[in-house]
Symmetry: D2
Subunit: 357 residues, 4 copies
């Protein structure tokens, strides 16, 4: 780590060697506000240069030259004194404790791990959906006596769903959601899913995923109120999660029960006119359109729509009446960009814009 003065905010990637860690590195190249100054992962790497410690797994880029020679440090705040922001791509087994250490040491932690998502004082944040939840940070700091803080982003399968539901909830109210996800292999990290398990196969089970999707959705669609804390949205959510042989992009077939009558045209209009805060603020990683509605009969498709908005847009389609609930539709988002590293960076951009950094 160099010691010169940074004009951009110095950030570290925790869990830098895994797939989401690599996405953080890729997406932060050329970032106007944040500069990677440190990479950290398990102690076993012992300070070796990143290029020696790991192989680059992302198919559409090479390891950026500027990180190749950075040493892979241990995930301890005292080893990374210069760092103001830590993006955490740590596995659940260690993320809980490590992230707390960083927050306690004054670092702003933006985490992709599941550990603190459901904590009563930690925002589970999608800036397009529940930007107001960021107010919990002040409470969290006070409560825990931390100079830093933790903000989490949602499970990759919850993201497209919540992006689609939020405008509907606001406009029409919502009581029930029932969905099936068709999730890409990259959602399991690297090496993740064995090719022998998934080639010419569907696995209709992802451990813990359905529960996460259900509880996180209710938290994100719920409210944060000073003195009251987080209150879940009173929405019944039922998820079937499946793993399918696609590389990137989680596609979801959802049915919803709305509280008020709405025509298909009204619903599409609500989606298409949706202009949430990140787009208002012009956050660097925010896509031009948070939601894209495709009118073709057979869209969104995983391959064709996952990269919309550089992987940060959520693409919707096939809105039609549902014989059991009110309406059904299809939603899609890129799971390792929007649903992971990109979402976390957007959270940091919102925090920065709102003076938390």
């Amino acid at each position: 780590m160099t010691t010169h003065t940074h004009t951009r905010i110095p950030v570290a990637i925790l869990g830098a060697t895994g797939m989401v860690g690599q996405r953080f590195i890729e997406l932060l190249q050329g970032h106007p506000w944040f500069e990677i100054v440190a990479l950290a992962a398990s102690e076993q790497h012992g300070g070796r240069p990143y290029a020696e410690a790991t192989r680059w797994r992302l198919p559409n880029s090479d390891m950026p030259a500027e990180v190749a020679s950075l040493p892979v440090q241990p995930c301890r705040p005292e080893a990374l004194p210069e760092v103001k922001i830590a993006f955490s791509a740590l596995p659940g087994e260690v993320a809980g404790e490590v992230e707390e250490q960083f927050a306690r040491a004054g670092v702003a932690v933006f985490s992709n791990a599941k550990n603190h998502r459901m904590a009563a004082d930690v925002p589970l944040l999608i800036p397009e959906v529940n930007a107001g939840h960021i107010e919990a940070v002040a409470y969290q700091r006070k409560q825990r006596g931390w100079p830093g803080f933790i903000i989490t982003n949602a499970n990759c399968s919850a993201t497209p769903l919540v992006m689609a539901l939020k405008p509907l909830q606001e406009a029409f109210g919502m009581r029930k959601v029932l969905l099936t996800t068709l999730q890409a292999i990259s959602g399991a990290g690297y090496p993740g899913v064995s090719s022998y398990d998934i080639l010419d196969n569907i696995i209709p089970y992802i451990g813990g995923e359905e529960e996460k999707l259900e509880i996180e959705t209710r938290k994100m669609l719920g409210t944060w109120r000073e003195g009251e804390g987080f209150v879940d949205a009173p929405i019944a959510v039922s998820a079937h999660c499946t793993r399918v042989p696609t590389r990137e992009g989680h596609l979801e077939c959802a049915s919803v029960e709305l509280e008020r009558e709405a025509s298909p045209e009204e619903i599409i209009a609500v989606w298409e006119s949706y202009r949430p805060l990140p787009q208002e603020l012009g956050l660097p990683t925010a896509p031009e359109q948070a939601l894209i509605y495709r009118r073709e009969l057979d869209r969104p498709q995983t391959l064709r729509d996952r990269d919309a908005g550089k992987g940060m847009s959520t693409t919707l389609g096939r809105l039609r009446p549902c014989p059991v609930l009110s309406y059904r539709f299809v939603a899609l988002a890129h799971n390792t960009i929007r649903g992971a590293a990109g979402g976390s960076i957007l959270n940091a951009e919102l925090a920065y814009k709102q003076g938390l950094l």
Copy 2:
């Protein structure tokens, strides 16, 4: 076509060159009751031997020697005078008229085509589900003045669903079903889905499929009563149909609302103890177990379970409470065997056993 006396019933395959036609041929090899004596397809083949007129597409077998030299005849009953049973794998554009001609000429037609499925006097038959509907044949013959008749089998995506639902309906009553299908490419026939459309992709749309699944399910779970005709089951059915990159096997994630309370154990017991008519009668193509419930967390899987019962069993798994309806589960069946050719052959076996041939 030879003219010697057959000890087995002489059958023809209509639409013999396509993928389902080839499945009929494959599955009828060594059949104890039925013998292929004629192959028919579009006129363009002009009587050429089957081996010249078409290429064998099924991956796990070669073209059986006994059909290789059979001439590919036109689909006209007068060209196939010896035939008592016609298995129809014809495309929807021609199936309607051709099948009627055969029935009018005295042939028992077992059709995989959609055209007559919803007719008021045509059974849409799955012997394990609605064997009683076969009684509509007498009415059909009388009504239409046909010496032959038409019996249809269901859309390949309706089959696993209805197999799973029937025992639940009988035991507990049922009001609503909401499901997402993950359907194999072979469901689109040959050449069917372009590899460029489906490799690393999900297409969340199959033209006409959702409608077929919904109306066929209600007909099959409904009743046939003399003088009253078919009465649909009063069940709301909502389907999301998707095409996924698997070769064979339609996997379905379903949620159901039951009329009466039931524990998971009771539901599994109802499935596991299900002994419908084909198994009672020992029909040659009936699998030992119509329904197989897998207790592993991650089953059924498309690749691992599609061939259960030689492709004729329906495999179930993952029964668990549904936060929106009563229960959710996964069902799987082989789409070109159970959901197409094999289902049609089983229908013919039931008809034979019940004296209709």
Copy 3:
């Protein structure tokens, strides 16, 4: 077609509805020298707007707005009077005659079709390899009395091979090449390969491909001399062509027999220092590096390297001695960009720079 004065050269795409036609459209967006003013395809489209006549098949882009409303014209020069350049993505059945009509009408035709590739007065051109062959155009025009001309680009499987071989031939001489290709499904166009044929499968045969690869390689590595014509390089070429389940990118495992001794380091140096004409001239579509040599043990890989140089670079790797010939290595190029539309555009850029337009 508009009639205003173009500041860029007005071009047409022949065969604009197919996969390579769409690649031409995609790659010509924002081109500094060429402007698409007309789209042409088979007469059946009858002048309907492009957006109605076809569906966009390329997964990473949408149909550009500027072509959506262009009428799909017939492939006749009199219907496209304004056009100076025609990029031909026509199928072999019609390309031969149509391309000649355009050349006869004064249009510069850059063709991806096989028909004229081996003609005695038609350059089979890869600007990095045999830029000098473009001199045959003067002879062609004189010989045929055409105001326009035809320049062809090579078969998509010949391109990476010839790119790799040219510097070796120049530096060390070459006698024999033996290779196996692993070709992506997009090489067969759209709908092309049925998914039922290729999912979980390898097809070790592509009709006519091995012959094309063998003869085209010898022509491109041969010479053009005024008065003498094309003289094939005296190199024995043997190709095994296979179709594999990848979307884009032809990977080739090649062994070569060189005339002179060379160390691995010398060979790699020759590749890495290769600076052919397009890069010298700074042609807009020329990649920065024509050849990229990857030193990792397991590169190039289809997925990871096909997009190198925006799909215009050829990536090499795994150079090692061959126990049967001299050396063996792996080569890879993007088949529908470098090996088809992109290659043709580069040919037009060279022709433009050399004053032929």
Copy 4:
């Protein structure tokens, strides 16, 4: 392990939990001569029942009931006193030492591991190819003073090649072989290849595979002579090995240089008339035809031909002259059956028939 008297020879599977171990179990079900009485793997399993210690990975079968309750023993001969034959599917890191311990303890070891393949007194055996090499066993026992012995089978990529070459070598002599392999993911075991590495990708590198293929081929096509030992065949072998997204079946594109002239018809006749020892002896696992030559233009194909002869036949096709060597052709065999477990069982059957057990 039970202690009753076995009417069949009691065998153990070493490395029983891996993919090849599971294939051994699957293929030995109902074997007329051999009976699985013990399963062994790494110590970590501590005697737990097989059904608890591992998950069944093979897609087309369930774990056989008869092995589900067998304890997973450590790989030590004293723990498996009853065993007469050990089939080894051990990983290379431990196979060397463990297999020697078993042979020293009097067990006949049939190994799929690489460790002893190239030893000067260990047969590298394919009964259809070099049955005579089994005579090295007597020398091995004497040399090493072992009551048991070790016989190995070849690398899965060497098997189809050598099966194809042996009859050519006998009939016409052979000097050179150059081939590219397209190898299925199952060749890497389980979990083996990450799906993220191979979906929509080709990896043109498999560590150590090319070397193994080259040296094993020369040993197997060479001779064993009393007092002289193994003498390699004087054949230059050059291999390019690639990993492709298929589940099972290694397809190989080969070119050979023969010593004597031969017409294509003569070569095909030599293949088709090949009747080696296992077929002569009627060994239980020997397929009816060791070699199958397909005359279709596009065969063998991985998916369609890998299961020929229950996965024990080698399928050939596309014989045609080679512009560089004499002839080229395509060969295919099932890598985890013929190229692994099935090959080893056939070796044991030969040894049994020849009185070595």
